[in-house]
């Protein structure tokens, strides 16, 4: 009944080439240790969905050549500057880019969560984004309301949601607190893979306070323990971002060679704090 407790290699082994993978932004729960393991394995042709934006993990996966398509409202490594590998990939036309806007990405996932083909969204009309999307259609209010056109956003069903949670238990439940975009991502995806910081000794669902912020095992395909697993990005309530490291990354990843050195140092040779 409960999901298997994997090691990291086994966990990321569940992500096939070409998978559509939903990732949270840097301020949510990023499974960085899993992403490094995935890069090391040499995964290819991923379709990343940034919910609603993607940061460091997206930039690294793009830089390492793992990504065919990127669907997101933004790529941002916070205050540290533009995402260097993403920027380079766009210039080179190396990835297919599907530009969105935050609420439409949330809406697409919520449509998948509810098993409906689309979700109406306000705004957007008049944005050039609309012209790029064949999965957004302009529609009218069927009740004849006078509030004008709506954008009908097609459901987004990721093959896999990949996240890092502060806590998980032996029953396969994962605690995410108020970061409920990860709850919607888990509901919407075919399955969810979770790395977690610490094992919670007990049943998260049996504790009324913890349960309120818990993704039930029902949605989770497998889990792996990964202490400091969001590093160098921060983890809400646990640790802040590794400022110096991220600045160094931005610097190194500014060139192809620099990024390759970064990969050699921190991903392929695993000098990371894992």
């Amino acid at each position: 009944m409960s999901a298997p407790l994997d090691d990291l290699d086994t966990l990321v082994g569940r992500i096939p080439d070409g998978a559509k993978v939903a990732l949270p932004p840097d301020y949510s729960g990023c499974a960085m240790a899993a992403v490094r393991t995935l890069i090391k394995r040499g995964v290819r042709d991923l379709h990343l969905v940034g919910v609603p934006s993607v940061g460091f993990q997206g930039d690294m996966l793009i830089g390492a050549g793992c990504v065919a398509t990127l669907e997101t409202a933004a790529v941002t490594i916070g205050e540290y500057g533009l995402a260097p590998r993403f920027t380079a990939a766009i210039k080179a036309g190396a990835i297919r880019m599907i530009d969105g806007t935050c609420p439409a990405i949330h809406a697409g996932l919520q449509a998948a969560e509810k098993g409906i083909p689309y979700m109406p969204v306000r705004g957007i009309v008049g944005s050039d984004l609309l012209e790029q999307r064949d999965d957004w259609i302009v529609g009218a209010d069927p009740f004849g309301g006078e509030d004008g056109p709506l954008v009908l956003v097609k459901a987004i069903t990721p093959d896999i949601t990949l996240i890092h949670a502060p806590l998980a238990d032996r029953h396969g439940n994962a605690w995410i607190g108020v970061r409920r975009e990860m709850m919607v991502m888990a509901h919407a995806a075919k399955t969810t893979l979770v790395t977690f910081e610490k094992l919670y000794d007990g049943d998260l669902l049996a504790n009324a306070e913890m349960a309120a912020g818990t993704i039930p095992a029902l949605y989770i395909g497998a889990l792996a323990e990964a202490e400091n697993g969001a590093w160098p990005v921060g983890l809400f309530g646990a640790y802040p971002a590794d400022d110096a490291h991220l600045r160094m990354y931005i610097e190194m990843a500014g060139t192809d060679d620099g990024f390759q050195t970064y990969l050699d140092d921190y991903v392929l040779d695993r000098k990371a704090a894992e």
Binding site: S53, A73, A74, D99, D128
Partner: protein
């Protein structure tokens, strides 16, 4: 940012004070990611609101009342529960269209910005959207954006309770006239001139005969900014707080 009256206040303090004046009397101001100056302005307005202004700041753990994940800010705006928000732009044009995507032909743009975030939505739904971009150059303030992430105005049949209220830069304040679909120069920051603004703005804008100087923060406002606001903003933007306010600003 260009010169200011040294020793009196810093450019960031003027901007915080100027933006805060646009927020007084509101009930709920939300601040997006990577926005230390708008964040500081919201916290200043809150500090002098006597507790009536609520601030929701993305990335803050202290000033964030949302408990429904990433979708809540957008739902909350659609419910009419957010009065003001801030947007920037890699390019902003004279019709208040903003471009957060890139320069050149999409998708293989010469320069790529992070992306549109929630702009294509919040710009429609939040009544008072304040455009903020410190860099005031013809490169940023263009005649026509290369990509419209979010349009400044909409056809009459589009549901749009929200839209641009003002554009604040490092040199001046523009207000936006929805009927005319254009900006008017409202005030020029101390140390800057109308000619300099015109020279550095790529789009046409209205100028009245006498343009005011942007009102500098008074002593009480400066004290509030350097005290409570500096402390509060340091939680979310420690690097910014240290740079502007020095070591006095510590996480409360």
């Amino acid at each position: 940012m260009t010169p200011n009256r040294q020793g009196e206040f810093q450019p960031e303090e003027l901007l915080i004070s100027t933006i805060a004046d646009m927020l007084d009397g509101l009930g709920h101001v939300a601040v997006g990611a990577s926005s230390p100056i708008p964040g500081g302005a919201a916290l200043l307005a809150r500090a002098r609101s006597g507790g009536s202004l609520r601030v929701s700041m993305l990335g803050s753990e202290h000033h964030n009342a949302f408990t429904n994940g990433g979708t809540e800010l957008f739902d909350c705006a659609a419910q009419g529960r957010i009065d003001a928000f801030f947007l920037g732009g890699g390019q902003i044009d004279g019709a208040a269209n903003i471009n957060l995507v890139g320069i050149g032909d999409y998708p293989q743009t010469k320069v790529r910005f992070p992306g549109s975030f929630g702009s294509a939505y919040l710009y429609f739904l939040v009544p008072r959207v304040i455009l903020f971009r410190e860099e005031h150059t013809p490169r940023v303030l263009v005649p026509k954006v290369d990509f419209i992430s979010a349009p400044g105005t909409s056809e009459p049949d589009v549901y749009r309770p929200g839209g641009p209220y003002a554009l604040v830069t490092g040199r001046c304040v523009f207000t936006f006239d929805k009927a005319r679909k254009g900006f008017s120069l409202a005030s020029v920051h101390p140390g800057h001139t109308v000619d300099e603004v015109a020279e550095n703005t790529g789009f046409d804008f209205d100028v009245s005969e006498s343009v005011d100087e942007t009102k500098p923060p008074d002593a009480a406002t400066l004290a509030l900014i350097r005290g409570r606001v500096a402390d509060e903003i340091a939680e979310t933007y420690p690097a910014f707080a240290t740079r502007v306010f020095g070591d006095n600003a510590s996480v409360a």
